[in-house]
Chain length 107, copies 2
């Protein structure tokens, strides 16, 4: 689902990743992290897709909210497991959303 | 593939979309637009994934480069066809990438 974000400015974290073939609880952890992120102060939502390359974009009110989530204890464990097991590579980009617009087909 | 972007700051355009069931040359146009974007001044690369929700993130040197691509004649036609035919909804977010970091597993 496309996230209903507030009027800019707000922040986006673009997480692009390639998976290894090792599963080891990946889906369970991914669901758990999505549920926990929703409870973080300043979280605005996220959008995710994978077909080979995975792209997850999460939206946040502030850089402080992003930093707090990055340092959250169980999220730190998930990040460690991501590097040791689930991801062959990834890139994280911290972005200021300056402008946005949308289209919705009239039914 | 994860794009090798230069050191920040640079710009990202996050295009999140939901498709209709109408095909009508979508794949052909999508490939053509990807090829044309690569020839635009200031284009740095793009990353794309779809499983239900589609996310394409393109990277650019400047806001001017983004504006020029948005106004490119054949791209304007593709945007029109996107609204009339291919997409039930989409959202475009123009972002300044302030910081990035990456991980690559040692083999």
């Amino acid at each position: 689902m496309i996230v209903k974000t507030p009027a800019p400015p707000y922040y986006a974290v673009i997480f692009t990743s390639e998976r290894t073939n090792e599963d080891g609880g990946y889906a369970t952890m991914s669901d758990k992290m999505a549920a926990m992120a929703q409870q973080q102060p300043g979280y605005l939502g996220h959008e995710s897709a994978r077909d080979g390359l995975g792209i997850t974009v999460s939206y946040w009110e502030s850089l402080e909210a992003i930093r707090n989530w990055k340092q959250q204890a169980e999220h730190l464990e998930a990040q460690q497991k991501g590097r040791s097991t689930w991801y062959s590579c990834y890139k994280v980009r911290i972005c200021l959303v300056e402008r946005d617009y949308e289209f919705e087909k009239k039914s």
